[in-house]
């Protein structure tokens, strides 16, 4: 049975829970989008790594939009700055997805594990 079929059968609460946790961490540490969502989707919802990463990106559409709306009307968002880094990042994401498509799942998890450890070290050392 594929993952979305299993999720359709109920168990919606864990997904909302994953969202709540990622939002909590985002508000508390400024870190908490994909780095919280992807491992939890793999561990709790048993999603395959690639689908977890892709679904995490889809979640971030919502969370980043909500976040920006919250700041809209203040002068905290520098739109030129966002474009200068965000547009090249779109090129990066398309390349990243091409690489991901060719990468066996175990290598993907290995790479993500190293990335998570790097962020964990940063937090442990600098708080």
């Amino acid at each position: 049975m594929d993952v979305s079929a299993r999720l359709r059968q109920g168990n919606l609460l864990p997904l909302v829970g994953i969202g709540v946790v990622s939002g909590l961490f985002a508000a508390m540490f400024g870190i908490g989008g994909g780095i919280v969502i992807v491992p939890l989707l793999m561990l709790v919802a048993k999603m395959p790594p690639r689908m977890a990463a892709a679904t995490s990106l889809a979640t971030l559409i919502l969370t980043s939009l909500i976040g920006v709306v919250r700041y809209a009307g203040t002068d905290h968002v520098d739109w030129l700055g966002a474009a200068l880094i965000g547009i090249p990042a779109v090129v990066g994401v398309l390349i990243g997805i091409r690489i991901q498509r060719r990468l066996p799942a175990d290598w993907l998890v290995l790479g993500f594990g190293m990335f998570v450890i790097a962020i964990g070290l940063r937090l442990v050392i600098w708080g």
């Binding site: 919606l12 997904l15 994953i18 969202g19 709540v20 990622s22 939002g23 909590l24 961490f25 985002a26 508000a27 508390m28 540490f29 400024g30 870190i31 989008g33 994909g34 969502i37 491992p39 990463a53 892709a54 679904t55 995490s56 990106l57 889809a58 971030l60 559409i61 919502l62 969370t63 980043s64 920006v68 203040t74 905290h76 968002v77 520098d78 700055g81 966002a82 880094i85 965000g86 090249p88 990042a89 779109v90 990066g92 994401v93 390349i95 990243g96 997805i97 690489i99 066996p104 799942a105 175990d106 290598w107 998890v109 993500f112 594990g113 190293m114 998570v116 790097a118 964990g120 442990v124």
Partner: protein, 143 residues
Amino acid sequence: MDASPELIALAALAGVAAGLLAGLFGVGGGIVFVPTFVFLFAFDQLDAQATSLAAIIPVALIGAWRQSGEGQVDWRAAALMGGGAAIGVLFGAEVAIRLDDEVLARAFGVVLLLVGGEMLVRSARRLRTARATPGPADDPRRT
């Protein structure tokens, strides 16, 4: 914002790097964006975080759209998590005011070390087994 050609080139490089992480691992890129704004453009922390959210929008949109074309996105799961995140952000702001966030951040860091370590060990073990017995486990199409 003062944007010299050098700064624009550096921002573009950081952007591509953040995008690569987003495409590979499904993280939005804030982890690269925020320090780039702080160190390169001398934004304060709040401006950097707010602007980072704006920079994530196109990455998440195009990335999810591309992945969706390959049937990799569970949109319903994404909507549920997005709704949950909106609730979590509200509570997080409350909790952050009441607790020592440096201790919390270190605790979060330890959790990430454990989670990352588990992924590393599990995938390395599977890769070693796969090398001992070459077969379908090596096939990228399996993913």
